[in-house]
């Protein structure tokens, strides 16, 4: 098996899906001739042609709305939103339609589409190119939301996403695109949507993370093991919606302590949902308040401030130690 990075893993999955299922079409801005601004769709236009890998006009609501129509009409569209900060002009299509058509038609129609959305910070991008807006999606009934943190999961979750009968937002952590390589099998396999993944076992504290926060979480867990002799369990949520109520509860019932880390602003972020879910499933096991380690309640700042804005190991280690101490 080849060791590949996340960009290649997603590209491979897309190529295999296009090759094996004629219903699959890709659409988005600059995904065709240019191969995508992150090169995720590289080579697909050349191989599958303009009718399957469609460079669209610059219009997010149009892209998502057209994808909805395609999905209802029998195709399996995979739409790309170039950066998460540009999802907002198209958000209505996800909230008002993608998430509701199945419900509103009482199951007669469904919307099996995938929306790929590069997201998150840490790469010195221009303003408004580093948003983490997963909370809006998680609060939208009818949408599933997944976030891979490894090349293997990226490919497997993409296969799983395309097999759903529901629309799936597939969030791609930009910072991890080329950060590491791992063995990824060729051909189809699915990483199930729903269950979280214990990325590191531990008995003393549950650390919940997703996307680019997972490597940070793992690194901090190692440091805590080394320096403090405590074992942090790192849970990569992987699926944000539907939330893995059982997986979250199980881990915290074991450890009795929890921290959740994300890039998005704290208030109303998915971290709040994790805390609330812990409160509901593991309250009696809790030995300390759950800590949220997050971006600040500010718009993502210009990149000179980025390192201060994003949760880093200092901020996370402090929270872990405080939570372990209580």
């Amino acid at each position: 098996m080849a060791e590949i990075n996340m960009v290649t893993a997603i590209n491979q999955a897309l190529a295999e899906l296009l090759a094996s299922d004629p219903r699959v079409v890709l659409l988005g801005e600059d995904i065709g001739v240019n191969g995508g601004v992150f090169r995720v769709t590289e080579g697909l236009y050349e191989r599958f042609g303009r009718d399957r890998v469609m460079d669209t006009p610059l219009a997010e609501s149009g892209i998502l709305g057209a994808a909805i129509g395609m999905a209802v009409g029998g195709l399996r569209p995979i739409a790309e939103i170039q950066f998460m900060g540009f999802l907002y002009p198209g958000l209505d299509q996800l909230i008002s339609h993608a998430g509701r058509i199945r419900h509103r038609s009482l199951g007669a129609l469904s919307v099996p589409m995938v929306v790929r959305i590069p997201y998150g910070g840490g790469i010195r991008a221009p303003e408004q190119h580093a948003d983490s807006a997963e909370a809006y999606l998680v609060h939208t009934p009818g949408l599933k939301v997944v976030v891979p943190s490894t090349p293997y999961d990226a490919k497997g979750l993409l296969y799983a996403a395309l097999a759903q009968d529901s629309p799936v937002a597939f969030l791609e952590p930009i910072r991890l695109y080329r950060l590491g390589r791992m063995e990824v099998p060729e051909g189809p396999y699915q990483v199930p949507i729903g269950p979280s993944r214990v990325a590191r076992e531990g008995r003393d504290l549950s650390l919940f993370a997703w996307g680019a926060m997972v490597p940070l979480a793992l690194a901090c867990a190692e440091e805590i093991a080394r320096e403090d002799g405590a074992e942090v369990e790192v849970v990569d949520l992987r699926t944000l919606a539907p939330v893995d109520v059982e997986g979250i509860g199980r881990s915290v019932r074991k450890t009795g302590r929890a921290v959740v880390v994300h890039e998005a602003p704290m208030t109303g972020g998915v971290g709040a949902e994790v805390v609330a879910t812990i409160n509901e499933t593991a309250f009696w096991w809790l030995k300390a308040p759950v800590a949220r380690v997050t971006g600040f309640d500010l718009p993502y700042p210009p990149y000179a401030w980025e390192e201060f804005y994003l949760p880093g190991s200092k901020r996370l280690l402090k929270a872990l130690r405080e939570t372990l101490r209580e």
Partner: protein
């Protein structure tokens, strides 16, 4: 600047009337009668609290009904909240329309190729583009048609959809019923464009104005747009000039904003009366036959309403059944909680 003639079939110097088969003319009339009868009935039901807020099409029956008759059943429909008439023509049983007005059913049903009525204005236009594209990719010789109003032309999604469709040359028909008003806002406050049809120029697509109270013209205009689309000549924006004679919905009071004189003018142009007169003149349907059709419609609607009211109340937990193929654990737990709650 191009001129934007208004296409007519039933007017004095119009032609093309023979292109609409006589049985179709009669069927359009019957369906228009049924829609008018239902709308009038439902306004009464709403006053009695027997249905919720309801948007009647009174005055727009020609564009509403004749347009849908020009489609094939394989075509896709993307309707708005006011398009129960078109949905019915396209295959949604009227029984279902009634249950929907009672909040008990979906706006669509069964095997009909239609989306649920779009409530947020014009946001379904991109869906029609996608449906058309899907059909083409799958080798089907069908079109998608979206229904919307004059107000809908102001929404960003109108623009994005027409632009997409133009670029793709997708087989779509954008059917705009310009009924003069978007609730209380007259068209001249909606846009400074002298016509809505000319907005097509911004997208390199075909624009067509039609007399929306001329059922035969509407039918022909949609037919022609459909043929163009299937011939690979791309989308058409149709502006059907009509008028909403009733309130926007049963919650609306048009006397607050609409000059009575304007209404009077348009009442004289009632599309149902107009088609009835035409059919009588042409010997296709006598006045007596028309009266019988109206009577049958009334009786049918009354029975159907009674039947709908006699259907059992909704199963409270049914709402949990449809969102996902398999409801996730938390949703199942919510369903169980509701079950316990209602005992």
């Amino acid at each position: 600047m191009e001129t934007w003639p208004i296409y007519r079939v039933m007017g004095p110097d119009a032609n093309d009337e023979d292109r609409v088969p006589d049985p179709v003319k009669v069927k359009i009339y019957e369906d228009m009668v049924l829609l008018r009868t239902f709308d009038e009935k439902t306004i009464t039901l709403q006053r009695q609290g027997r249905v919720g807020t309801f948007p009647p099409s009174i005055g727009q029956e020609a564009s509403e009904i004749a347009s849908a008759h020009a489609l094939s059943k394989e075509d896709w429909l993307a309707p708005s909240y006011r398009d129960h008439g078109a949905l019915y023509v396209h295959g949604v049983p009227f029984e279902n329309v009634i249950l929907f007005a009672m909040g008990k059913a979906s706006s669509i049903s069964g095997q009909v190729r239609a989306l649920p009525t779009s409530i947020p204005i014009a946001t379904h236009l991109p869906h029609a583009v996608g449906l058309a594209w899907a059909a083409r990719r799958q080798g089907e010789a069908v079109v998608a048609m979206a229904y919307f109003g004059d107000g809908g032309t102001s929404e960003g999604d109108f623009h994005e959809a027409l632009n997409f469709a133009g670029v793709l040359k997708a087989p779509v028909i954008f059917f705009c019923q310009n009924n003069g008003w978007a609730i209380s806002v007259p068209v001249r406050w909606q846009t400074a464009s002298p016509t809505l049809a000319q907005k097509a120029l911004a997208y390199g697509v075909h624009g067509q104005r039609v007399d929306g109270n001329d059922a035969l013209a509407v039918y022909q205009a949609v037919k022609a747009a459909r043929e163009r689309a299937l011939a690979g000549e791309g989308p058409t924006l149709i502006e059907a000039l009509t008028y909403r004679l009733g309130p926007h919905t049963t919650a609306d009071d048009p006397s607050r904003y609409r000059p009575l004189e304007e209404w009077e003018v348009w009442r004289q142009r009632d599309p149902l009366v107009r088609l009835g007169r035409y059919l009588a003149e042409r010997g296709l349907l006598s006045e007596a036959e028309q009266a019988a059709i109206q009577e049958r419609a009334r009786a049918w609607i009354n029975r159907a309403v009674e039947a709908a009211e006699a259907t059992p109340p909704v199963d409270p937990t049914a709402m949990f059944r449809y969102l996902y193929a398999e409801p996730p654990p938390r949703l199942l737990a919510q369903m169980q909680a509701l079950q316990e709650e209602i005992g």
